[in-house]
């Protein structure tokens, strides 16, 4: 029994040392233009979604769904988000940056409105997604979120209304 416990403890101590040493010696890939192995990105996406779901548990959208909200959200989106996340009605860009920002107009999103709200407000650690809670009011974030959710299915009136005006 003593040997069993000793084997257990030795392994619990030794196993974390391996990845920590790997990192600290600079053995880890750091280039953003090299794709991560798919097991790694899938595992991280799984953990990320679980964490966001947990964070957004008690959040509810207080705003009604209307074309006005979508238009307000769409204008903010084109102004602040489209640079990385793509514009509706435009072809998807080839991205190899890791982690790549999702092109919502092409892949949509699996996140619910409260989850998107949480992500926009708090950002995502160790990605290019910064925390926008410092710059947008809650109401603006909800408008954005409604737009992102419906981006692939916009009422034509909304799509026309958010196009930049050519003088």
């Amino acid at each position: 029994m003593k040997n069993f416990i000793f084997g257990f403890l030795a392994t619990v101590v030794l196993i974390p040392i391996v990845p920590l040493t790997y990192l600290r010696l600079g053995a880890a890939e750091v280039r953003g233009d090299v794709r991560a192995p798919s097991w790694e990105s899938r595992l991280m996406e799984f953990a990320l979604h679980a964490s966001v779901t947990r964070g957004a548990q008690r959040i509810q959208n207080p705003l009604p769904h209307s074309d006005e909200q979508l238009i307000a959200g769409g204008k903010m989106y084109l102004d602040g988000c489209a640079g990385c996340h793509g514009r509706p009605g435009r072809p998807a860009r080839k991205r190899i940056a890791y982690a790549p920002p999702p092109e919502f107009a092409h892949v949509g999103t699996q996140y619910s409105e409260p989850e998107l709200f949480w992500v926009v407000k708090h950002g995502i650690r160790r990605t290019g997604m910064s925390a926008y809670g410092a710059f947008y009011s809650d109401q603006q974030v909800w408008q954005l979120v409604e737009f992102v959710q419906q981006m692939n299915n916009l009422p034509p009136a909304v799509f026309d209304a958010i196009q930049p005006k050519r003088p």
């Binding site: 029994m1 750091v30 090299v34 990320l48 964070g55 950002g123 997604m129 910064s130």
Partner: protein, 170 residues
């Protein structure tokens, strides 16, 4: 010995289950506006720097060490980098601070990296940060001029500062 190995095997299974539970239950904190512990942040910063030192080329900047190089780099910097990394002579970027890890503020904090390392980071980006690879947008010559500028961003010759004024409107 058999019992030792059995204990070791149990530990491996235990750690795997613990990791799966930690990730699957969403216990890994992902909010960029919550800072991880200083110990974690320091460790990850040191690991990142070790990786860059190990991988970046150890070469001299092939461009002439001149004010013209710095001015060319400075113009690129003002165009594309200031939004996150801060503008010379201005307070640090609020936007850069909303990422985690936060964007380093070169004009105020400088950088530990050599010009070749800055070039390499700008070209390839840094995985799992907001630093996207710029190699597709800029030529190597442009990136070297940028590296020269960033490496001296805290200590620019007055002639260079003057030549960069007024900065293009953002």
């Amino acid at each position: 010995m058999k019992k030792f190995l059995a204990g070791s095997l149990c530990a491996i299974i235990f750690l795997a289950i613990a990791l799966a539970a930690y990730l699957g239950l969403g216990l890994m904190d992902v909010a960029a506006d919550q800072r991880p512990s200083a110990r974690e942040a320091d460790f990850m910063t040191a690991s990142l720097e070790a990786s860059v030192r190990r991988r970046a080329p150890q070469i001299q900047n092939p461009l002439a060490n001149s004010d013209d190089t710095l001015i060319a780099g400075g113009k690129l910097y003002l165009n594309d980098c200031v939004g996150c990394h801060g503008e010379p002579g201005q307070p640090p970027s609020d936007f850069g601070a909303t990422f985690y890890p936060p964007a380093p503020q070169f004009p105020s904090a400088g950088t530990q990296f050599s010009e070749a390392q800055i070039f390499w980071v700008a070209k390839n980006g840094i995985r799992m940060t907001g630093m996207y690879p710029q190699g597709a947008s800029y030529s190597d010559t442009q990136l070297w001029s940028l590296a020269a500028f960033i490496s001296r961003a805290r200590n620019l010759p007055p002639a260079v500062v003057k030549a960069m004024q007024p900065p293009p409107s953002k």
